[in-house]
Subunit: 117 residues, 2 copies
């Protein structure tokens, strides 16, 4: 599969809310996930850690709406634009967030995801 | 200046359509510009070459509308989302384009720009 084909399939799953399936199919075992923040979530290594972060996030936020737009491709990388309208369960704070995800592909799998906001 | 401050100032100039000033102030002399296409514009090196490409582009497209959204920041990089509604003067073809620009900052200047579509 080309990077564009992988990007299209990955993004199609995200648009359908099938995040776990997207990770299972396309995350490399040694994927690195980089957030634009300090703390323990700033850099995670390995598919299990990244899936754990995702599971934590969905468990701790109430989802009101949002979506994924893309992909936008260049070489072995692609971008996805995310919108999220969520309430953080711990604080009760409702937030509208918009961010850009940058994904790097190697050997048919995503080896890095990096989020911009 | 932090990467976020540079990103904010650069993006503010783009939003005002001041592309030449944005380049003059923030592009490094050795900036590399990478497009997601084949051909002579695929990779340009140096501020003069990048400014030349930009001048060529604006001379060869009629601008109907568009804008820049962002910045979205992570570490020493930031993203900007672009919308363009233009007519290519050579072909007369009107196009609505949407793309993501990814910028890398070093020593207060943009050393790489990479466009995704």
């Amino acid at each position: 599969m080309t990077t564009r084909e992988i990007a299209e399939d990955f993004c199609a799953l995200l648009k359908e809310g099938r995040h776990e399936e997207a990770s299972a199919r396309f995350h490399a075992e040694d994927i690195v996930s980089i957030e634009a923040m300090e703390g323990p979530m700033a850099r995670l290594e390995g598919k299990a850690a990244v899936q754990g972060k995702s599971a934590w996030w969905y468990a701790n936020h109430e989802w009101h709406g949002g979506g994924a737009e893309g992909p936008f491709v260049n070489g072995d990388q692609f971008s996805v634009i995310f919108d999220m309208d969520v309430t953080a369960k711990q604080t009760g704070q409702r937030m509208q967030m918009r961010e850009v995800g940058l994904y790097t592909v190697r050997d048919g799998r995503i080896v890095e995801e990096r989020f911009f906001y």
